[in-house]
Every structure is written in C-alpha cells, then in structure tokens.
C-alpha cells in the first residue's frame, strides 16, 4: 500500500518544549499543505503554528493512508501522535514526552529515544521505539486506574519506572495490551490487571507490584524479587494471552499476594 507522505523538517530547535498534539494523521488527513502549516502548536505560553517551526512538504490523504515523516532534533517536542486512530508517523530522532499517548490505531516509529509517558493510555495501534524510553511507558495518566488497554509497544532498549502502570486486558473483547522491551527499570507492571510484558534482558526491583492478574516474562535477571511472590513449578514454555509462545526454561511465580491469597497473576524469570 503506497501511503501519501507529509514531511516535516524542524527549522529551529525550540527554546522551550513544543506541544505538538496537532501532529497526527487524523489532523492532517484531507488538508492542504497550507492548512497543515496553520495547525496550532504551543511553545511555552505562546500559541504558534506548525509552519512557524517546521518546513512542510508532501501531501496528505485520508487518515489510514497518511504517513508523517519528522526530521530534525525533536527531543523537546511533546505529544506527537496524540489520540491518532490510523496512519503512520516516523520520527527520525529522539522525541519528547507523551509520544503516541491515547492512540487507538495506526503505527508510530521512533528512530531514537523517547522521553517519559511514551504510549501512555494506549488503546490500540503500535508504538515502536528503537532507542530507550523514559518512565511510564504504556502507563495510565495520574488518577486513572485503567491505562493501556490494547495495542503493542516495542522498545529495543530500556524502559523506565512504572511502565505499564494499571494496564488492563479484556478477554471477552480479545484485547491484550503488550509491551516488549530490552530491559526494564523498577515497578514494571505496577497495579497490572491483565497486561503482558516481555523483557529480553534484565529488570530492576518490585516487578509486578500490586499485580492482580497478568503475565510478566523476564528473560534476563531480576535485581530483587518482591517477597509477596511465591514460587510455583518451573516451566519450559509460556503461552502469552495474545497467543504467542515463548520457549525456554523459566521459574514461575504467582503474585502479587499482597493483594490476595490466590491470584492469576504470573511472573516468569529465566533460569540460566
């Protein structure tokens, strides 16, 4: 499928963070380049436009067939891809906070690192980060007790603290929010009620804290297991709720028993 491409090239690095929630395929779809240039951005307390900070070229189509390519150092640009429902965004550098938050469809690729809150409140779609991500990847925003509810986040590098906070799955709706990452900081899967997490490498402490149900797989080492997790039988294979099968020898733990005496929550740590 050949998508229409809109190219954004950053003209000058913003002095303060730039809030770019208007940069989504949904907002660009069906608009001319001039209309896109006039879309609003916030630079500290100044209301500016996309045209003020970016050179805009290319063409937009409908949402599903619009691909936005962003060049230049946007490490200080926040909220790119917010609430998008389709289409694609490719970011060729590090990106600021809140990338892809609340998206429900489409795909975002970050060819660099992402700041905190990447993929927060994800409702669907795919977010891929080639570098490291900050804290709160795929997490719920402050005060929400349901965070990521569907979709996939892939981070090649590390994710920060409290990633997948309050993640919630739904068996009847076949929604299995999933995070794949290279390594994880502390509190991965905090308050988890159904999310799936697979860590290729090591994870820090308090993994699965307050998990009521869900599946967390650590293929490397964990720095300290929570005392409220209890050892069950070892396994040679794990079937993730989304159907994927992981083979290898793993120690199996149930938890978090600080929530309840019996629990469907599971944590798997590779046996080397």
């Amino acid at each position: 499928m050949i998508m229409a491409e809109v190219k954004l090239k950053l003209k000058k690095k913003p002095k303060f963070p730039l809030e770019a929630d208007s940069i989504t395929p949904d907002n660009f779809a069906g608009k001319t380049l001039n209309e896109i240039k006039k879309l609003p951005l916030y630079h500290a307390r100044d209301l500016v436009t996309i045209g003020d900070f970016f050179d805009v070229s290319g063409k937009a189509e409908d949402v599903a067939n619009t691909k936005i390519i962003i060049d230049g150092d946007v490490s200080n640009v926040k909220r790119v891809g917010e609430k998008m429902t389709g289409g694609e965004i490719i970011i060729n550098s590090d990106v600021g906070m809140h990338v892809g938050n609340t998206m429900s469809g489409g795909k975002i690729l970050v060819k660099g690192n992402a700041d905190d809150w990447a993929g927060a409140m994800l409702q669907g779609g795919e977010l891929e980060i080639e570098g490291n991500a900050g804290h709160y990847v795929g997490s719920a925003y402050r005060g929400f007790w349901q965070g990521m509810q569907n979709g996939v986040i892939r981070v090649k590098g590390s994710v920060g603290n409290e990633s997948m906070l309050w993640a919630k799955s739904s068996k009847p709706s076949n929604k299995w929010p999933t995070l794949y990452c290279g390594s994880a900081s502390s509190f991965l899967g905090l308050h988890n009620h159904g999310g799936t997490m697979v860590v290729e490498g090591d994870a820090d402490r308090c993994i699965g804290a307050d998990q009521s149900r869900g599946t967390i797989v650590i293929k490397g080492k964990i720095s300290r297991l929570l005392p409220s997790f209890k050892k069950l039988d070892d396994v040679n294979e794990i079937t993730l709720p989304n159907g994927e099968i992981i083979t290898g020898k793993f120690a199996q733990y149930s938890g978090d028993h600080s929530i309840s005496k019996e629990t469907a929550g599971r944590l798997y740590i590779a046996i080397k």
Partner: protein, 440 residues
C-alpha cells in the same frame, strides 16, 4: 526603669510545622514578642525572629549592579511585574508558609500569567498526594487519634525533631478520652533506618534498610493475608519479626500510621506511600486503622486545599495553554529547573535556594528572581527584587490547614513594620500591576 505594658495573647496558632499547635501564649510589649509559653524551641524562635533585627527586610529591595538598594513599593512592584510579563515560562513557587487568602491570590496571578504554579509539596509530600490519587486514603483527624489510638506507628518520620509537640499533644504522651492513662495506654512502633530519638522512646523499633521500605510493607501485607512467604528476611528484618508485627497490627483496637519523608523522599517515593495506604486499608478487615501524612510546613496542606478548590489540582500545575494541567515530573519545580525550562521565578514564603538540589538552584539563578521573603535567606540574597511581607500568623491573620486538613485561624499578635505588607496584599498589588501593564 519604666514598666512595659505586657499584653498576653492566648490560644495562638504556631506558624511553623504541620502540627499547627493552637495553644500558644504570646506576651507582647511595645510591639515586640517578649515571652512565649507552650511553644517548642522552633516555634519560640519563629515568634522571636519577627522582632526587629538585622536579618529582616524593612523596605522593598531592588538589585542594581550587584547590590541591593531600598525602593518604593511602586518601583519594586513595577520591576517585578516587568520580570513576570517578559518571561515565557515563569514559575510561581512556595506558598506553604503563608495563609490561605494569599495562596488564593497566588493562583489567580499564576492563571493570569499562564505560568507554572507549584508549592513545597513538590519536594515533600507530593508523593503522598500522588498515592492518594491512585488508591485513596483512610484518613482522620488528630483529635481522633489522641482520644482513641492504642497503637501508633511512625514510619519514616521523626517527630522529636520535625514535629516536636506532636507526641505530647496528639500521639504519645497525651491523655485521651479512651486513653486515660496516656503513654501507658499506647504501644508506639517506629520504623526507620536509624534508631532516631523518636525510636529511642518507642516500645518497638524496627530497623529497615534504606530504600527498601516498599518490600517490607509488601511483605507485611502478604503475611496479613495469611500467605506463607518464601523469604526468611525482608529489607533487613527477619520474617519472625514481621509476623510478630502483623499480630500487633491485627490485635490493636485503633491503629494509626504517621509517615514522613522516609517514604516520600527515598527511591520509589509515591509507591512507598501507595503500599502503606493499601496496608492500612486492608487492616480494616481486622480492626480500625487509619493513616496521616506528617506535613512539614504549617500551611502546605492549605496550599494544596486552595489550589485544588480553584484549579482541580494540588500542586505542579501548568497554565501555559490557558487552563490548568497537572503532571508532577513534567510540571514540577525541580524537574523544570533541572532542565532549565523556567526563565523567571516568583518565590513566595519558601526558600528553594536552601531546599532544592544544587543543580536546580544553579539554573534558577540564571534567570530573574522575585522573592516575597521577610528574612535574609540564600534565596532572597540572590534575588533581583525583594518584596518584604508581614509574618502570617504573627503580624496578620488568616486561615491555615493542619496536617489532618483541619482549618484553624491564625492570629495577629503584633503590628508588622510599617512598610511590610501581608502576602495577600503584595500578591494583589502585583496582579493589579501586571494587568495595568497589559492595559487590562
């Protein structure tokens, strides 16, 4: 020698810590505090510090060529308004050591300027508020604890040093309605990495390893659920001690956990509080159990109240897009300063130069600072404009909220120096000046 006429004020509130003692007696003669009764060392010092001294600012100050000169209020407010209007991302910070009406004007000013608005909870009990937003909290008032609690736990809190009269008025020595035998009717537990002075007068001291409070609370919760754990020891505490503690928790009639910076300022901050709250709630399956954060400043709880009524949020609020948005970590003062994202600060009733990490102070100093501050402090000394206030609770009235969110009325026991204005008046005049300059 002439007899000075002494006026004694009774039931005066102490404007220092979150215990907000309401039984102080202050003797004033010739508009100077001459004697205090019932106050702790720190409260006494605070009242006496309002007397004339070389440390107090008596007139507005403007810095010119590296040193301060006296200025009129008009001049100083004008300069301050210029600084705030020129900035793109100004920060209004502090508010914890002043009264509620002033805090209210602060919100209005921040909203008008589309600035960042924050208070000292940001570096103190902000994590407690974050935890309460996630899991709620079973709270009560100090009077209830005084009258009913037979089990009192201080977790990461050292009231002998930080809240000196808390123990004698509410939590340890005081006789209560159902605790008529005072200290003998209570069992005190202290959890801390050091055997603090508070731990030394407790019935049970549990030494927890620094940064491992979460794991210990987590283990206690699981044992409380009747789960037999695999570990023999958690956070430096043997499993036998943990099991004994759980029995003590279950068997009390009315328990309370008072917690402090040991939880909020260690690694995992708000999650330490989150799990402590969950433990407290779960204990109510067995007995009556509540918790209360030991708020540091006498009116930081008030700042959280006022900010919340008016904006919906308690601290770390960004108005840059024309409405309030809340996200500690993104809009919190230290984070913003560490990234050098703020280009001017208005500091009210606080001293960030002393209390923020060095990196944040370094960046704060790169930009103009307006300080509403009665005394020489590291913040005021390096400010560009100083607006001298009257002491709330000594030289002007107002409302303050205690650590348990009970509102009490601050008293006025003496007059402020002629050119020192109440905080709320300074902020009102500043707001007026700012509006005037924008032709509104």
């Amino acid at each position: 020698m002439s007899q000075k006429k002494i006026i004694t004020h009774h039931d005066v509130l102490c404007p220092f810590c979150g215990t907000l003692c309401d039984d102080l007696e202050v003797d004033v003669a010739d508009n100077e505090v001459v004697e205090m009764r019932n106050s702790c060392q720190i409260g006494t010092k605070k009242f006496f510090s309002s007397n004339p001294s070389g440390h107090r600012y008596l007139k507005p100050q403007i810095k010119e060529k590296g040193s301060f000169r006296d200025a009129t209020w008009d001049e100083a407010l004008d300069k301050a308004a210029d600084i705030l209007l020129k900035a793109k991302r100004p920060l209004l910070y502090g508010f914890s050591s002043t009264e509620c009406e002033a805090q209210n004007v602060g919100v209005e000013l921040a909203e008008y300027l589309r600035a960042i608005l924050d208070n000292t909870a940001s570096v103190c009990h902000g994590p407690s508020l974050l935890a309460i937003q996630d899991v709620g909290a079973p709270l009560s008032t100090l009077g209830e604890y005084k009258n009913r609690a037979d089990l009192v736990i201080f977790w990461g809190s050292n009231p002998v040093h930080a809240h000196p009269r808390h123990l004698s008025r509410y939590s340890d020595y005081v006789r209560g309605y159902f605790r008529k035998d005072g200290r003998n009717d209570r069992f005190i537990v202290v959890v801390d990495p050091r055997k603090t002075h508070t731990a030394q007068i407790a019935d049970l001291y549990i030494q927890v390893k620094p940064n491992e409070d979460y794991e210990l609370l987590n283990a206690i919760r699981a044992v409380l659920r009747g789960v037999e754990l695999d570990a023999k020891e958690v956070s430096g505490v043997p499993m036998e001690e943990i099991k004994k503690l759980v029995e003590i928790l279950k068997k009390c009639h009315f328990g309370v956990i008072f917690f402090g910076m040991g939880l909020t300022q260690s690694v995992s901050h708000h999650r330490n509080v989150d799990t402590a709250i969950c433990l407290t709630r779960e204990l109510n399956d067995h007995t009556k159990f509540l918790l209360t954060p030991m708020r540091g400043h006498y009116n930081v709880a008030g700042a959280n109240q006022v900010f919340t009524w008016t904006t919906g949020y308690a601290y770390s609020i960004d108005f840059s897009r024309g409405y309030g948005r809340y996200n500690p970590g993104e809009f919190s003062s230290v984070d913003l300063l560490m990234k050098d994202e703020v280009d001017a600060t208005l500091i009210v009733a606080s001293d960030p130069a002393s209390n923020f990490p060095a990196g944040a102070v370094r960046n704060m100093f790169k930009h103009p600072i307006i300080a509403i501050e009665p005394h020489h402090t590291p913040t005021s000394v390096y400010a560009d404009v100083i607006l001298p206030p009257a002491f709330a609770g000594i030289e002007c009235e107002g409302t303050a909220y205690r650590m348990d969110k009970v509102p009490l009325r601050l008293r006025k026991v003496k007059e402020a120096p002629e050119e020192c204005l109440p905080d709320r008046e300074i902020l009102e005049r500043l707001l007026e000046k700012v509006k005037e300059k924008e032709g509104k």
